[in-house]
Subunit: 424 residues, 2 copies
Amino acid sequence: MAAIAFLECSRCHHHVSAETPQTLCPLCAGSLYVRYDMDKLRHTAKREDIAARASASSASLGMWRYSSVLPDATPVTLGEGWTPMLNSKRYPGLYIKEEGANPTGTFKARGLSLAVTMAKHYGLQHLAVPSAGNAAGALAAYAAAAGIAAHLFMPQDVPLANYLEGIVYGADVTMVDGLISDCARMVAENIKAQRDANTPAHQVWFDISTLKEPFRVEGKKTMGYELVEQLGWQYPDAVFYPTGGGVGLIGMWKAFDEMEQLGWIEKGSKRPKMYALQASGCAPVAKAFEENKPASEFFQNAATFAAGLRVPKPYGDAIILDIVRQSGGKALAFTDEQILTSILDWAKHEGIFLSPEGAAATAAYDALLATGELKPTDKVVLFNTGAGLKYTDMTAEAMHLKRPNEKKATLPKSMPVGGIITPQ
Amino acid sequence: MAAIAFLECSRCHHHVSAETPQTLCPLCAGSLYVRYDMDKLRHTAKREDIAARASASSASLGMWRYSSVLPDATPVTLGEGWTPMLNSKRYPGLYIKEEGANPTGTFKARGLSLAVTMAKHYGLQHLAVPSAGNAAGALAAYAAAAGIAAHLFMPQDVPLANYLEGIVYGADVTMVDGLISDCARMVAENIKAQRDANTPAHQVWFDISTLKEPFRVEGKKTMGYELVEQLGWQYPDAVFYPTGGGVGLIGMWKAFDEMEQLGWIEKGSKRPKMYALQASGCAPVAKAFEENKPASEFFQNAATFAAGLRVPKPYGDAIILDIVRQSGGKALAFTDEQILTSILDWAKHEGIFLSPEGAAATAAYDALLATGELKPTDKVVLFNTGAGLKYTDMTAEAMHLKRPNEKKATLPKSMPVGGIITPQ
């Protein structure tokens, strides 16, 4: 484990101690990054030790194989990270990072595992989160594992899985008639009300919104370490990342910074082009990219069946856009029709059932192949951020799929879809 | 990879060559087991090489870390196996093997990965399966990955996830008004009709029902290797296994045989007690165990929300009962109420969202703790055979959970369950 040196503001570079729980920069409200003593880590955190340590451990370490560059605290773990990297059968250079394998079925497990680990370390008893759905489910699970109370605020039309997760994990669930932005406001209002009422400190909720505390992005950085290690400690040509809050992209860029500082990746290596993919029905980052703006505007009437992409204005928008531009990548958006088409295409031809968010990325891949901007041999790591199986209700609805429901149909012996056979 | 020496009948021990696709023993219709040249493997398949090989490989090998004891063929893989083993927070000796992390969300991925690997090796073009749900979904995925046609027969009331899997993966889906037993009969009837009609050989469906071909149980044996390796190459005191078809239990016992023959586990080590857990609404094996019978009878009116346990008479029943008795274990059954209670208990207290099948096993664990037959320090490996998230519709229904659906409710600011807040 690595001792945290300090927390650094991503905007004004002010340093804050990590001895007590922190949210945003006290000077400018910028997001805080975890910083380590890199001089020391260059000696103690060796790339060769990663695989050796993982193999010496009988159980799977998951993302904690990177504990030498993660904060020093006892992990609250459910087996998150070290997800499969699946080589496409059709496109030789394309690799799918299958985040659906995580606990709770999405990559949110990584950030919440670390954030709850630190919350337990600090002795926090109440955590609150606004979420498009999956972060809420992940917080509920890790908080239950840690014995901490979770307060979830999510849109009332999130996929059934997210609602059910909140209930079964025993969280305090508030369903909001609005979007994640409304949920965020309500969390902040609740906490302010608690403070105004002089609620005892240990009962005040801690706001664990991503980028409003330092550890969710820190957990997500492990995706950057993993994709590089799984390619043999090399960068791909491009990374395709479905972008709702986009914090995974920010975490990966931080991982790239660290790996270069530690000498885990050769100096001068060309970083991958970072592609941030969105749904046309909620594309604030793609719009700002197209309009050459440094930050996004609140996207009105956000609507898409890719629930995880329903983030009208991500808190880290300026950081995301900067990374995308620096890297020579793009921010692009695709329609629900293109997304659904891609889900069906990948399931049928590759046996991979993408989430709608993951399919925004594969739709982008197809589009860039078609224009020639990408070649099938280019090395691309594309994130399927969640299991297709977590969205059965949303996907079935998008497909207008009706289950056969007549119990005693008299139909021919075999029908491809939709018939029910009554055995003789 | 290991060359298959021959296939051996589990019942009459007749040997059959593995050079062409085989189903059942041609002499007595017993299930066939894959056999290797153990004298040779004792020299070439070293326990120490497992972890070394896994760590040398940049990507995760999953269950293929055991390739030295698996058939010699190019894997059709989606990242199956090497699932997390999670230590319970409440019971120090209890470990949950989280099969929900697999592709398609259940342990079926293991057997179907190997069966489809061999089907591709043999050049088979059509595979058919009767299934309680999850095997059909797994076949659809692996067949899609392999470019082989899949013909699925499942009960019309399987969880939505299984129906959707069949459709999105592009399989030929038949929904049957009946149970897996009716589905099995229909697969056999279809194949017989094809043969009677002199259908060209490559168009005849191959019946990939578990235990009616040798490779699904062979893939499942990797659960036995894994649980032992993850405990540091030792047996636990007991294994708890949710039993529908029960083939995982048979596979694990085969793995124990092989590990002892190979010297991977100390001679004379006491094998775990094998507990086969069922739902009261479909408990043929538990009933036969209780009545001291060597095989089960068809369980009438089978009904349980644990869809994977709806197997009225498993093909391997005699083998399962023999293993359970030999090992000093038991076959037990629990009600849907006990199962649902256990799902909620484990999610709330441990952050693990069990499938209904997995919760039959945890309900058993609780019952045996209560009687004192088990101590919390006994080393027990309990299989959660599928992700709770794959059963959202079944579990929500069992809980009578209604989503809040009023868009403009005027409710107090925060409600634990069921209210919708309209932001001001």
